[in-house]
Symmetry: C2
Subunit: 292 residues, 2 copies
């Protein structure tokens, strides 16, 4: 059984990105520049945006965080998005979600120039991804694909069971893995809350991607010997620790791991891979790799 070390892989990736950025600077090219808009003062959002800023600086990218009050109107936010769309110095733009309830999130997502949409949430990028065209792929599915690639895990012809049909994880990764690509070329079954026979399906899977957000949902009796298990869940559960909680994945790691050929830990698996994907996309944006 091999642990898919997302933390170490993400570190390697970050070094590669930092080297590219450094090389570009040497060549007199522009420094990649990510802008993040944060509306209101949600604690978790604040933490995420700070991490993203720190990650940018770590690899030598420029980062701009625009903090707007939670009284910002939709029109004002749209104006700000348009300003950044037109700002030639900014390569990538993310609007941290969730937004205050008086703002239509979908409208904001679709207002971002697809060329700068490094979160990959704009339907144009989703549609291009689904069609196998160059696109910004959102962070978690991209992190999963990269980890599979870096460990040279054979995917062609394999049966993947994806548990969870969210628009940010389950559905895109199901689409990506069924494309004629590498990683890819999988037979993919997409399961969700309405699926009646998840256990029977999981037992047929060569690769299981658990992305439903239910702590330790996947147990040993659902996994066949030699399966690859990717755990996307990360939930705080009460525990006798200093903080009063521990982080649990969607997989009961202790009992599932011995059955696996490969498995991701939580934390230190998909989480760090997700984080680094935003940097990958920002680099792509600066290189104008996705949209010529």
């Amino acid at each position: 059984m091999t642990i898919l070390d997302g933390k170490a892989t993400a570190e390697t990736l970050k070094k590669e990105i930092a080297q590219t950025v450094q090389q570009w600077k040497k060549e007199g090219k522009k420094t990649p520049h990510l802008a993040a808009i944060l509306v209101g003062c949600d604690g978790a959002s604040e933490t995420y945006v700070n991490s993203k800023e720190r990650d940018c600086h770590e690899v030598g990218m420029q980062s701009t965080v625009i903090r707007l009050p939670d009284t910002t109107t939709e029109a004002e936010l749209l104006q700000k998005v348009n300003d950044i769309n037109r700002d030639a110095d900014i390569d990538g733009l993310i609007v941290q979600l969730p937004l205050p309830k008086h703002i239509n999130e979908q409208k904001i997502i679709e207002a971002i120039d697809p060329k700068k949409d490094v979160d990959g949430f704009h339907p144009l990028n989703v549609g291009r991804m689904v069609a196998g065209l160059p696109s910004y792929i959102s962070a978690t599915p991209d992190g999963i694909m990269e980890l599979l690639a870096r460990y040279h895990i054979e995917t062609a012809g394999k049966h993947v069971v994806v548990i969870g049909r969210s628009n940010i994880v389950g559905r895109p990764v199901a689409n990506l893995l069924s494309l004629k690509a590498n990683p890819g070329n999988c037979t993919v079954t997409l399961c969700h809350s309405q699926t009646s026979n998840i256990k029977a399906l999981c037992l047929q899977a060569d690769i299981i991607i658990a992305a439903l957000g239910k702590p330790e949902f996947l147990t040993a009796d659902m996994v066949r010997e030699g399966a690859v298990v990717i755990d996307v869940g990360i939930t705080r559960v009460k525990a006798a620790t200093k903080n009063g909680f521990r982080l649990a994945g969607d997989v009961n790691f202790n009992e599932v791991a011995p059955r696996c050929s490969y498995i991701t830990p939580v934390p230190g698996g998909i989480g760090p891979m997700t984080r680094v994907s935003l940097l990958k996309n920002t680099l792509k944006a600066a290189a104008k790799e996705v949209f010529a």
Copy 2:
């Protein structure tokens, strides 16, 4: 066993659409108007465009066909698309595919205003469909969904096996059926040329959608008693008929039908439903139902 009569259902739909168009005219509203661009003189494309024109007239819609020579440049075609995008009288625009090889099809598809993209091929519409947002759904997947709906076939919690991952049938219908919607809420397995155990998967399916384009691929030993079988294939195979051929689906109808609860025939199943979907989308475009 019930035959899913696509021909009769499409006729009903056409009547409903014709009534709506007539009602609109009475109310002094604009007549829905579909424009089709045909480049070159491919025989099959010519036939398709003529059918679409005839369908429009049959339901009282206006139709304009723009015929361009196969020497048309990409720039000239883009210009024509832009002209129609700006023409307020035209509600829907299709560019008949395939295009001559010197023209980049994807570029043309993405040049069509998504609001007029009644073929549903623009990645913005694909992305919106995948996210469960209002969108133009391309004709064949829409026809399948409509037929399931009209026959009140229970889909929630059912296991659907889709054979074929094309961007115009298999992949979109797999996405649609797994959405939280009705029809929908299915567990969906998407199979293709790289799938090793298609028979074992089909035998687990409550609903099979055969869209791989291999005549009579699906045989009785692959279908469990009581399954719903949707046949999207339509291939000319040599036969001792007047024309020297007959139309074959992807399903061996004679042997599979007795096992099914519902099955579509070929011809007269998904074909007519596909044709009528373009009219549905043109009506939606005229009503500004998808994009406000």
